[in-house]
């Protein structure tokens, strides 16, 4: 009876306020809206506390929730369809088939199970949750359907779609500058140090020789490669018969350029990012041509190479010296990386 009295009182006030005009109409409307919100909250509390059916009396509500972005395996990353597989080889050109597909929250069935235990557990004794293709269908109390929507959108998707933006730069600096940058803050280039380096690049005291950029999801490996391939005559396959001989040219391909391959995970605070990192830079300095006595010209390439496989923890959004090495001309080549956490809706 007490509940019904509340409804009667609220209804009376709603009706009265709706028609009560006057010069202070804005105030009155505001008051009315506040009143309605108050009443809705009171009814909601009453329902939750007493496990009453939905206040609008409509019974179960049906909700459809597409899950393909959660329930599709995240490979390392996409199983390639244009593999560029070499003849007679199982090896794909770019990247490997690598790890098993990764499901952020398990299969769609496991997502449903997570929802059953996390969202209004008691509601599922009478409610329905099932799968339709890549979608989940929920039939339950309106508030439960609403909570499922919130749980999927604001909790699971927020976690599954966190990403990381990676930057990789190879910069040649003087040995003194290299020591200075590596020494301060253990190789982390906070704003002042980065500005100093940028200034050196703009004045020509340092050279940015290579740079890559890419985005990916936390927990998956992503790869960016930029470079070139040059065909060369690397050898001659010489054949000799009784009165004849010939040289069959052997064509090979020389690669130059670099890549960044990384998988990132973030700690609970979001301030530090752990990276499983592969960095590589090769430069084709030139191809020397050697004239053989009878067969022809053989190409002899000369390349520089610096490669790392690292497991590092870097501050979010801060340039960090991942590694360095001395070049032929006595300069220090720094491999700089920056990992920046990007939230699902962080672009707006």
């Amino acid at each position: 009876m007490r509940k019904e009295a509340i409804f009667a009182l609220v209804g009376f006030l709603v009706g009265a306020a709706t028609l009560a005009g006057g010069d202070d109409e804005g105030d009155l409307r505001e008051e009315l809206e506040r009143l309605q919100r108050e009443a809705a909250r009171a009814m909601q509390r009453n329902w939750e506390a007493n496990d009453l059916p939905p206040s609008d009396g409509s019974g179960n509500q049906v909700g459809f929730f597409p899950l393909e972005d959660l329930g599709t395996p995240r490979y390392d990353v996409l199983p390639p369809t244009h593999d560029l597989v070499l003849e007679g080889s199982e090896s794909p050109l770019f990247g490997g088939y690598a790890e098993e597909g990764q499901l952020p929250f398990g299969t769609n069935e496991e997502v449903m199970e997570l929802i059953r235990v996390s969202v209004d557990p008691a509601a599922w004794e009478t409610g329905i949750v099932t799968l339709a293709g890549d979608s989940m269908v929920v039939a339950s109390r309106p508030s439960t359907v609403g909570r499922v929507r919130t749980f999927l959108d604001r909790t699971l998707r927020r976690l599954a779609h966190r990403g990381v933006a990676m930057d990789f730069e190879a910069v040649d600096v003087s040995a003194a500058m290299g020591r200075s940058l590596s020494g301060a803050d253990a190789g982390r280039l906070f704003a002042e140090a980065r500005a100093k380096l940028d200034n050196a690049i703009s004045t020509g005291a340092a050279q940015r020789v290579f740079g890559l950029k890419g985005i990916g999801s936390l927990g998956t490996r992503f790869v960016v490669w930029h470079g070139r391939e040059v065909a060369i005559v690397s050898d001659f396959d010489v054949e000799v018969a009784q009165t004849a001989s010939t040289a069959d040219p052997v064509v090979a391909i020389v690669q130059s350029g670099g890549y960044i391959a990384t998988r990132a995970e973030v700690d609970d605070s979001g301030r530090n990012i752990s990276l499983d990192l592969g960095l590589r830079l090769e430069e084709l300095l030139g191809i020397r041509r050697h004239e053989t006595r009878r067969s022809g010209v053989v190409d002899l390439p000369e390349r520089t190479e610096q490669a790392n496989r690292l497991a590092v923890r870097v501050p979010n959004g801060v340039w960090t010296i991942a590694s360095s090495g001395t070049t032929d001309d006595g300069k220090q080549r720094l491999f700089l990386v920056r990992a920046s956490l990007i939230e699902r809706g962080g672009d707006r």
């Binding site: 006057g22 108050e38 972005d69 930029h226 995970e265």
Partner: protein, 339 residues
């Protein structure tokens, strides 16, 4: 509960009738009374409800432990296999088996469970039979109306299409500051500036949400790549082998809509190749041999991107002929424009 709603509605009517004949003074007086009653209502409703012991309710909290459980493979091979391409043309895509958004049996099951479940038992001769891609449904008009609404919902789910546009754009040292500050999304003016440059390639395709597609756009450049040399007792010969190199863009993509976040998860593999011309020639005893040079930019990633924005997927930002991949994903409307 129904009685409560009825009382509520009656009270709304009574309240309206009470006020309709009052003058402005009465309205002001009513306003004061409403405020007083509001306060009273709040006190009464709070007092009337049983207190919930918040400390006893289970609370869910999520702890991020990804950084604690990830593997750190400090040894082992490179994470990228850079076997040279030999300039081969990309293999034809092998896509997954086609699949329908919903299965007929499931649709029937859901109709029975979710659209007036009682009507399927209580209505005499109520039935649903699938034939020739159609459902033959026998039920009362009210249920048919609800089935219409249910089917509309299914179609909305099945018809979610996305347009994925990929651009390869050149960048230079002047863009360094922009690229250093941008993480995922480019500001509109910067995006326009980059996209207005002479393109290094672009590709665009339309896919349903969660459908994997691939596309190649480019040209094949033929070249004399090798000789198959044969030798006999007194003679030799070089049989020329022609090859072709691919110059263009190849994309392999799956886009999955995230409606709540107004974005899409994009699983993508991108390759952009460019054959330098003229192709270098060297002379051999069998004839000329052509040795191409190929510039390549490749990317494989899985990332969430906002809809209708130009995002940086990745690419090179410095070095020789830097090439950056930009993408824009747009949701296509389901409305059909007719004359």
């Amino acid at each position: 509960m129904i009685r409560s709603v009825f009382i509520f509605l009656v009270a709304v009517g009574l309240g309206a009738l009470t006020v309709s004949g009052q003058d402005e003074d009465a309205a002001a007086d009513l306003k004061r009374r409403i405020r007083a009653l509001t306060d009273e209502l709040r006190q009464r409703s709070d007092a009337s409800l049983p207190k919930i012991d918040e400390s006893a309710r289970p609370v869910m909290r999520i702890y991020d432990i990804g950084d604690l459980v990830m593997n750190y493979p400090n040894s082992g091979g490179d994470p990228v296999d850079l076997t040279p391409s030999k300039f081969q043309f990309p293999e034809q895509a092998e896509l997954e088996e086609p699949q329908s958004p919903f299965e007929v049996d499931w649709i029937i099951e859901m109709l029975r469970q979710l659209v007036e479940p009682a009507a399927w038992d209580s209505v005499e001769y109520a039935d649903v039979q699938p034939r020739l891609g159609r459902l033959f449904v026998n039920n009362i008009p009210r249920v048919h109306k609800k089935i219409d609404a249910f089917m509309k919902t299914l179609r909305k789910l099945a018809d979610r299409q996305l347009r994925v546009q990929i651009y390869a754009v050149p960048v230079d040292e002047k863009d360094a500051a922009l690229l250093a500050s941008a993480t995922r999304t480019l500001p509109a003016d910067a995006a326009e500036r980059l996209l207005s440059r002479p393109s290094m390639g672009s590709t665009e395709l339309v896919c349903r949400s969660n459908q994997q597609l691939s596309q190649r756009v480019g040209r094949r450049v033929g070249y004399l790549g090798d000789y198959d040399v044969e030798i006999a007792q007194e003679a030799t010969i070089g049989d020329p082998i022609s090859k072709s190199a691919f110059s263009g863009m190849a994309v392999d993509v799956r886009a999955m809509l995230d409606e709540g976040g107004k974005g899409a998860r994009l699983d993508i593999e991108l390759s952009r190749t460019h054959v330098s011309e003229p192709v270098r020639r060297v002379d051999t005893e069998h004839g000329p041999l052509e040795l191409p040079e190929l510039a390549l930019t490749r990317l494989r990633t899985s990332a969430w991107v906002p809809l209708d924005r130009v995002v940086i997927l990745g690419g090179s930002t410095a070095g020789t002929n830097p090439c950056l991949f930009l993408a824009r994903v747009t949701r296509m409307g389901t409305k059909t424009k007719t004359k």
